[in-house]
């Protein structure tokens, strides 16, 4: 049986010794699109940073294709990370390089391919995201949607088996967001890629997800299909998917203490 692209075991992580993620477990199958959802402050971004090797967990581990991400040296970890692709929310393109150079970067750094072949692959990847012909533009000359699509092209440059996307459709108009959703589905269907998408866009999540994982206050409170999440009886999940504001219990004494700076 093939090893899972990613297994998260008993992951606990946070900042300055304060846990934000509590004992999370997750496994993703080959060719599966998993959407991680949750409200603001639910720990989605921290969770993602742990998954992509940017933040050492306080406890637990993440394994990529059967190999521990945090139980190895820094150089070994970098080697493991070559096998995944990540498209950041802001694109995180190198501003001093052109679009073509950005997409070519992983190929130049990690392959022995000649310049001509790299150029062909770059054009193929840009064609895949609908940006063929934009090779010579600088990131500062691109729109938000184009930046995200170039980030996707760079993430898939080395044909990884697992790709992560952070808020791919956030801040985009509905047409561009829909195009990005189609692109994610295309990655799974035509390249057999496993994709982990972190988003809070419900429409997009329901359209692309094979499975939805809901994070709430650092805990995974739900993992299931779109139909299952819609049928969930959990009130917090219903509030999340129906966009219902939650009233926190109001304690007048505690509130007063906070106002005078005693708590």
């Amino acid at each position: 049986m093939a090893v899972s692209p990613i297994i998260v075991s008993d992951l606990m992580g946070g900042y300055n010794g304060t846990p934000v993620i509590h004992g999370c477990n997750m496994e993703i199958a080959h060719g599966e699109i998993v959407v991680i959802m949750g409200g603001s402050g639910s720990g989605k971004s921290t969770f993602l940073r742990h998954l992509i090797g940017l933040k050492e967990p306080m406890q637990g581990d993440v394994s990529l294709f059967g190999e521990s991400l945090y139980g190895v040296s820094e150089n070994e970890r970098l080697k493991l990370l070559k096998g995944i692709g990540v498209a950041f929310q802001s694109g995180a393109l190198l501003s001093s390089l052109t679009v073509g150079q950005n997409v070519a970067l992983p190929l130049v750094e990690h392959s022995d391919l000649d310049r001509e072949t790299i150029d062909i692959i770059v054009r193929m990847k840009l064609d895949f995201v609908g940006l063929l012909g934009k090779e010579d533009l600088l990131p500062s000359e691109l729109s938000g949607g184009m930046l995200k699509r170039v980030a996707v092209a760079r993430a898939i440059a080395l044909d990884p088996r697992l790709t992560f996307m952070d808020e791919p459709s956030a801040g985009l108009d509905p047409v561009v967001a829909a195009a990005l959703d189609e692109l994610i589905i295309k990655l799974r269907d035509s390249l057999g890629m496993s994709v982990v998408v972190v988003t809070h866009e419900l429409e997009s999540a329901f359209k692309i997800a094979d499975r939805i994982v809901v994070l709430d206050r650092g805990y995974i409170i739900f993992s299931g299909t779109v139909a299952e999440i819609k049928a969930s009886s959990n009130q917090r999940i219903q509030n999340l998917i129906n966009r219902v504001a939650e009233d926190e219990e109001f304690d007048p004494e505690a509130h007063l203490r906070r106002l005078v700076g005693e708590a």
Binding site: L81, A92, P106
Partner: protein, 271 residues
């Protein structure tokens, strides 16, 4: 009275805490810089075998941006210093009727002191700030994280080329500054007190020793380390927004220049 004592005690403990915090930050700064030096040299030697080679083209790019582009301003400033020292030297030595000895003054001071110091300060102002702002904005834009998740070590991609670029370009710039400064001094001295070019350079070469040149080279290497590491560490420390980036850039220039002057004084006192 009691309240006043309380306030004094509070202020004193706050000051002590600030000093302690500053000390811890300084130690952390030095530790991070030492780690970056170690990692850069490690990747320079072992990088190719572990798939993290420091690329020559990146180092050359840094030599161009940090060195060659600084050349005009370095030559101009060094030449100005050469002429100023000549003017001042002739003026002071004339009191004793010894203005022809001005060449010895230039030979003793320019290679050992003025050329490395002036070049260091100019490059600190130009390349140090540029490094801090480049690394800082890369950090803010998530470019450093992006490199890491692409399996590219940020040390070999950003830090090592900048460090090695400056380690190569600064000694060359200092050598050029020395020649420019002495050359400008020669032109002024020939024009004012008529010492011929051949006699001038013969005097200079008779005074300048290998030790002076080693001193000049050693200082330029030391300054290159300081400029590169202060710029990079300050850039890596940027978090928040554009305002913090601006502060880090300004602060890196001030810190670089302060560190260069302090290191220069220390070298003079010790050697």
């Amino acid at each position: 009275m009691e309240q006043r004592l309380d306030r004094i005690a509070q202020r004193t403990t706050r000051r002590i805490a600030d000093i302690g915090l500053g000390l811890i930050q300084a130690i952390a700064f030095v530790g991070q810089a030492a780690r970056l030096i170690f990692d850069s040299f490690y990747l320079l030697i072992r990088g190719p075998s572990i798939g993290q080679p420091v690329r020559l083209r990146h180092v050359v790019q840094e030599i161009i941006t940090g060195g060659i582009q600084s050349l005009p301003v370095v030559v101009l400033m060094a030449a100005t210093i050469g002429v100023m020292l000549s003017i001042q030297g002739i003026h002071s030595l004339r009191i004793f009727g010894a203005e022809t000895q001005v060449t010895f003054g230039l030979a003793l001071s320019i290679p050992r002191e003025f050329a490395p110091l002036i070049t260091g300060i100019i490059v600190a102002g130009r390349s140090g700030s540029q490094l801090a702002s480049r690394v800082g904005s890369m950090r803010l834009n998530g470019e450093i994280d992006a490199l890491t998740v692409m399996g590219i070590s940020p040390v070999r991609f950003i830090v090592a080329p900048a460090l090695f670029g400056l380690l190569i370009s600064l000694p060359i710039l200092v050598a050029v500054a020395t020649v420019a400064s002495l050359g400008a001094g020669q032109l002024y001295i020939e024009a004012t007190i008529g010492i011929a070019s051949q006699a001038y350079w013969a005097d200079i070469l008779s005074v300048v020793t290998m030790e002076d040149l080693a001193h000049c080279f050693g200082k330029s290497v030391l300054f290159a380390f300081l400029i590169a590491l202060i710029g990079i560490v300050m850039g890596l420390g940027v978090s928040g927004g554009a305002e913090v980036l601006g502060r880090a850039t300004t602060s890196s220039v001030v810190t670089c220049i302060g560190a260069i002057i302090a290191a220069d004084t220390l070298v003079i006192l010790l050697l």
